[in-house]
């Protein structure tokens, strides 16, 4: 991976972590569109408790850590978990350099050693 690409990804990651860390501080705590309509129309009367409602991160909180810091920690953990799952999945299913056919217009890479992960 080129340095330029690496720098961009690193910068993007910093932005994502800042957003996740600051989200709970700036976010509106009002119900969202669906929850508002559900409450107004009576849909919400049928709502059931979430089966995992007791989990340590439930409701974007961080068990044992109060307030804004807890929200920031929850957001950062969520970002890391999403990134690991997402990047893992996408690295797994991506076109490997060796099997690039060039059919989609992307240049097949001639870089040998990178396919060993």
């Amino acid at each position: 991976m080129s340095t330029r690409n690496g720098n961009f990804l690193l910068g993007f990651l910093v932005v994502v972590l800042l957003l996740a860390g600051g989200a709970s501080y700036v976010a509106s705590s009002q119900p969202d569109g669906l929850n508002r309509v559900a409450a107004d129309t009576g849909i919400a009367d049928q709502e059931q408790e979430h089966q995992l409602g007791d989990s340590p991160l439930a409701g974007y909180e961080f068990a044992g850590v109060e307030g804004i810091l807890g929200g920031a920690l929850a957001g950062i953990v969520g970002v890391v978990v999403t990134l690991l799952l997402g990047a893992g999945l996408f690295m797994l299913i991506r076109r490997k350099p060796a099997e690039s056919t060039g059919r989609s217009g992307v240049h097949p890479r001639q870089r040998g050693g990178s396919g060993s992960e």
Binding site: M1, N5, F8, L9, F12, L13, V15, V16, L19, A20, A23, V26, A27, S28, S29, Q30, P31, D32, G33, L34, R36, V37, A38, T41, G42, I43, D45, Q46, E47, Q48, E49, H50, Q51, L52, G53, S55, A58, G59, Y60, G75, G78, V79, V80, V81, T82, L83, L84, L85, G86, A87, G88, L89, F90, M91, I93, R94, R95, P97, S100, G105
Partner: protein, 228 residues
Amino acid sequence: MHVPDGFINAPVSLAAGVVAAAGLAICLRGARRELDEKTAPLAGLVAAFVFAVQMINFPVGVGTSGHLMGGVLAAVLVGPYTGVLCVSVVLIVQALFFADGGLSALGVNIILMALVTTLAGYGTVLVVQRLLPNKRASAVPAAFVGALVSVPIAALAFVALYAVGGTADLPLAEVALAMFGVHVVIGIGEALITALTVGSVLTVRPDLVHAARRYEQELELRTAPAGS
């Protein structure tokens, strides 16, 4: 717009799960063509970005908020198949770790926020791109319009699912009107965030914006550096 358990009955939730699984299977195949060693890590970051921005509820009137869904944003950046997978990963993480979105409603939520937003919204992006000048900057207004329409369409898709499998007998026209109205406003927020993000990436790394690939010829002409 995360649907909790109990809004949609068990048979329709189950059917939605089957449809969502089929949709994800199609996207897993399609995403192979969109992902290479350069775009795969970016796609992971796009998923993380959608997770982070979804946490930021913005006010849309008295006592109501909205948040990004991210289907069009992800599709424009990394391609529609990969975009669906990005949002779906986010929804799965939210349901499993954050108690946001019911477990039995996971299929419903993947249909609404990943599949419907991407099909309707990215479809709109492609149409708008054909209508606008053949320049890479056109990707930004196209993404804006696509994001704008994706949210109310997803809201109406919820009403359609509720019409089939809603757990209460309510006046559907009233539900549809309320859902559509508030999500038109939320769609403006979705469109602004999407256009801002796409515009930023386009400025720094136009080669990383999937929806700007169609302008590659123009890119070739333009990238001759002035001073080297």
